[in-house]
Symmetry: C2
Subunit: 255 residues, 2 copies
């Protein structure tokens, strides 16, 4: 068997999230079905980030094992033939057997897009969060800056239930950079949030975006962000942004 790595782009609108889940259509489920057809054997894929229902992928990374006789370029063409237009693989190649799309990753970068104009845009439906009110971008930039560094993100994460007797999982994460900016050009009505962290806990990007937008609307003072983080209490932060605007953009690996 050989290990294969691939980068995956997908339109999350038609899927119930990335991870395989019985009875519903998922991105991993479609890719694994295609791989099983091509390799004539069951294939289990590992991913860098298990995105939620409705969240999109631009640079998701997966790894899986296949028989040595199979050419990665041929696998890529066949998966794309079976899964397009919703899922597209690129840069499919052999990697060292020790490579794991999840555990070898050193950081993940997400992009979130907010459409800041009075009316929704049919051409961006399912791709942005439409916020009709005026947003204060400099205040949102301050909110984003407060996230950078190593913090316990309990105020911005949905905590997974620990089993009986199990310790609660740590929600401490390191945000490497986070910023809000205007997409510019003819898309200047789109505000983009870019965030890169070693890893993310559940709903972390969407909670930070929801809170940033509440800051942009004047409902939360940007100066209160350090206190919201310190509270380690999910009710201290603002709302959770919808999945539509979120894209797993890029995953970093040690060279």
């Amino acid at each position: 068997m050989i290990k294969v790595k691939a980068t995956v782009a997908y339109d999350g609108s038609g899927f119930h999230g990335f991870a395989v889940n019985d009875g519903v259509r998922t991105v991993a489920g479609d890719i694994e079905s295609a791989l099983a057809k091509i390799t004539r054997a069951p294939v289990v894929i590992t991913c860098a980030g298990r995105t939620d229902k409705g969240v999109h992928g631009h640079g998701q990374v997966i790894s899986f094992e296949v028989d040595e006789s199979l050419d990665p370029g041929r696998i890529e063409r066949s998966v794309n033939q079976l899964c397009r237009p919703s899922i597209v693989l690129r840069d499919t190649a052999h990697v060292d057997p020790s490579f794991d799309a999840r555990f070898s990753a050193t950081w993940r970068r997400y992009r979130y897009r907010v459409l800041a104009q009075p009316r929704p845009d049919p051409l961006l439906h399912g791709r942005v969060w439409h916020v009709p009110e005026k947003l204060d971008l400099p205040a949102m930039t301050l909110a984003a800056a407060a996230m950078v560094g190593t913090h316990d993100f309990a105020s911005f994460c949905r905590r997974a239930k620990a089993g009986p007797g199990e310790p609660e999982a740590s929600l401490t994460r390191t945000v490497l950079d986070a910023e809000w900016l205007s997409a510019g050009g003819t898309d200047d009505r789109i505000l983009e949030f870019w965030i890169r962290a070693t890893s993310f806990c559940h709903q972390m990007v969407r909670s930070i975006v929801g809170t940033s937008v509440d800051v942009g609307l004047g409902r939360i003072d940007p100066a209160s962000l350090p206190a919201i983080l310190a509270a380690r209490d999910r009710t201290a932060a603002g709302r959770v942004a919808p999945p539509d605007g979120l894209v797993l953009w890029e995953v970093g690996y040690a060279a």
Copy 2:
């Protein structure tokens, strides 16, 4: 009766073009059905540009007559309630009775997007023309420049059949500006074509884009564009680009 003007954005993917056409779903058909429900009377709309099947709208303009008792803001909210997410009206307002969305327009601006990268992007499916080969943007810029001015665009237009004894319609049009540029930012893999003309003949933008891309691929010499125009022969130009990347962006009216 009063005259109403509205700007319309739509996702053309699910429609068989803008103009009403029996037995198929069209943008005008959906808007007229909504208006008939709201006004309880048949309403016929006029548009600035009858876009083809699969072509999108950002700043299409329509005009129609309704009973004086109806508030434009209420009409807009009701139409959007009935037609979203595929169609969204904005800037709905009373206008002078002499206003006509088509005949009062002094220019139309279209945007066309080409995705220039090896693999398609699921998040841009139906919104761009995916061209996997490398494109020569400076050569495409030269091709675009050759279109500016008043020309007979017979080489770039699908001619409507003249009835028996009818003279052939003129295909002379004035292009005010035309340029290719990179969308920039994180969308630098997108090439944008912007063109503004007093009016367009059928398939004119898509023919100019298809020919520009053939120039970008090295199949047509950009220096031959004036000769292709002068030939007034549809077979002289390159192919017709697919509708996916085309958006009627804006319509101009005399102040």
